[in-house]
Amino acid sequence: MAIGRQTAAAGHAGVLTRPTWTTGWASWLTTVDHKRLGLLYICTSFLFLGLASVEAFLMRLQLARPEQSLVSPDVFNQLFTMHGVTMVFLAIMPLGIGFANYFVPLMIGARDLAFPRLNAFGYWVYALSGVFIYTSFFLGGAPDAGWFAYAPLTSLSNNPGNGIDFYMIGLLVSGVGTLVTAMNLIVTIINMRAPGMTFMRLPLFVWMMLITAFMIIFAFPPLTIALFQVIMDRTFGTLFYVPEAGALPILWQHLFWIFGHPEVYIIILPAFGVISEVIPTFSRKPLFGYPIMVLSGIFIAFMGFAVWSHHMFTTGLGPVANTAFSLTSFVIGIPTGIKIFNWIATMWGGHVRFAVPMLYATAFLLTFTLGGITGIMLAIPPLDAQVQDTYFVVAHFHFVMGGGALLSFLAGFYYWFPKMTGRLLPEGLGRLGFWLIVPGFYLIFWPQHFAGLLGMPRRIQTYEAGIGLDLYNLMSSAGTFVMGAGMVIVIFSAFWALRKGRLAGDDPWDGRTLEWATSSPPPHYDFDVVPEVNDRDPVWLLKHPHLVERRDPISESVDPDHSPPKHVEQVSIHIPGQSWYPFIASFAIFLGSYGLLFHNLLLGLFSVAVLFYACYAWALEGVGGHHEHIELEPAVGGPA
């Protein structure tokens, strides 16, 4: 391809200079490159996925046989709380954001996110808040009031330990990171699309991330306020959730689920996006019904804010509210069903190749649909009243979250690993892992439907022998070994492939979207020349024009003012410099969290001072960086 030559940037000197490491630990702490941050996100979320799996494994060990006492009720409470918190906030959601960090700029033909330093800040806030929450195990016990932390379980009188404070402060801080990253993604997708990349040519993954980011900016504030209220209650003696003073603990449930239900879609929409990339590529057909897929995503996002009370059918909202929220919950099944049928229609008549990503995508279709069907069952208030707080609900949301989000992110992991590392994951081990993970998953969660229908309550540390639950629980616990072995194989094969994997080349899957038009791994400036986009599947258009229906004759025209210059032999790309301040700012917040938790005024003031310093230094450091001069081969003007 092209050979890069670097020169220092002239005329960009700010008051403070920027670091320029390219290797070593400091280069990772100061990086603002969306690809490095994407990798950090993905690795960190896999780490937290591992911790959450250990917690789940301990719970299943305790529940394998009736009336065991491997784990005390107190520790069990901490385990299910931390498992939920970790999976939702620290593992699966950041995994989607990690893929978005890496691939959204590549897919839209941008060189980075709109605010690279803010992106780094978002990552470090997320990672350090995860560390913060996990230090609770050593500093007075982990949170133990469930991942939803219903008031007044969280009041100081009911729960005097530090665990709840770790939950409240940790999630509040982690929410700040998620919010700024979502805002950054919105600006990037709206403003940094390559010439010709109209909204209706955005890859579905980008569309889903745009919708997800909008959901984040509207859903996280209610959670943040609710967390803030409990922090105020516990630290400064306010009365938000003190029933004795006339407060209504149900307010927490409303605020929490106004966040919590959209959060479900915040997790699943990026997963839908991944599936919408994988299925067309491996079916060698353009995505069926692209516009309706986009509109379904938008409709899901709107309806996602209108169904929160279906988590509260048993709280006595009354028949009118229950009916209304039941109806909206049924309605949200429609766009989801449309998506399922469109994916099936994409596969229909295609030349389907069952490589590992496609295996996971297919398993996703089945598993997510099954979870969706139990979701429709739970949307019926009388049935919900019967199975509320039983393992039936546990089985349902693990089918949609685990079988939905996790399986599709595994599809994404296998699909994009060659692009991120330049090497292919071994196919044989991948198939072995798949055939352990998916059947293991069903072995764990399928029997839980029946245990739940028999009335087995969730969040209880043990159960009586001989009431029909023994076999189902034993099956569930046995399944964790099978699925765990599969996950170990996936991780192991990733490490193996990093060193010994087969070289992937730029485009191992015969991909459709722009990320396959650059090298694997991409250079730090992503593209030699920002490509011009003429179709929804721009890379296919170049390689196999016959595969692409030219739906849209306007697509030929690209705004001449903005199209890249033709016949260019050399381009000069400005690469922004690195920065310490995102890390310093987020570290100050990390320290401040401990200051707030331990009521340590000195530590609090110190971290506020550091935060102020970091903010102003952030603003005052120059653009920095350098220019990359790229000699282009004659007659090659980039992929367009």
């Binding site: 996280f220 209220q229 006339g246």
Partner: protein, 200 residues
């Protein structure tokens, strides 16, 4: 090569005419609506649920709050003038009006500090009753927003002395202005649903 053609990408291509930073502020404000929405919602849910006094009608001084509201709204007017002067390149007047906005914002904050300490003297604290809890957290959060706005304005003002400013820098002031107007609008809502409704 005799005539190498070089494409520079200093002026990065953008798909819309909106500067990134302005788009970012609009999106932040959309999000901030939900922050204040949740706080105002909590206030309304707990309205008239306090079991002990003092109640709103016992402590509110509508004349005082009307004056401070007026000051805050006038600061938005100065904000428009400041942006206008910067755009036409009149740096002196830009500095004057920007200082005016920050000054009026500070007067508003002074009123709020006075009001808070007065309420505490009357026995209304954070943990006295639900009114105290929700009132102080809601108006306090708004006060923090105003404080951040004042800091941003003063930072821009100081920056204009350190580094020459010109009309092309007006986007920064415009972004702070968006924030400032938003915080004002939120105050209009708070003034209505917290203060005015007590006197109808």
């Amino acid at each position: 090569m005799s005539h190498t053609v070089v494409a520079h990408s200093h002026e990065e291509y953008r798909s819309t005419r909106l500067p990134d930073i302005k788009l970012m502020m609009w999106i932040f404000l959309a999000s901030d609506c939900m922050f204040f929405g949740s706080l105002i919602g909590s206030y309304l849910v707990y309205k008239d649920r306090s079991l002990v006094g003092p109640y709103p009608i016992d402590v509110f001084d509508i004349n005082l709050t009307t004056i401070s509201t007026f000051v805050l709204l006038m600061s938005s007017f100065l904000m428009v003038l400041a942006l206008h002067e910067l755009r036409v390149g009149n740096i002196k007047l830009f500095r004057l009006w920007t200082f005016g906005v920050a000054f009026f914002g500070s007067i508003f904050l002074g009123f709020q500090i006075f009001e808070f300490s007065h309420f505490v003297q009357e026995g209304l604290t954070l943990s006295q009753n639900l009114f105290g809890t929700t009132f102080f957290v809601l108006t306090g959060t708004h006060g923090v927003h105003v404080t951040i706005g004042v800091l941003l304005l003063l930072s821009l003002l100081i920056a204009s002395y350190v580094r020459p400013v010109a009309a092309k820098d007006s986007v920064y002031l415009e972004v702070v202005g968006l924030y400032w107007h938003f915080v004002d609008i939120v105050w209009i809502v708070i003034f209505t649903v917290v203060y005015l409704v007590e006197f109808v």
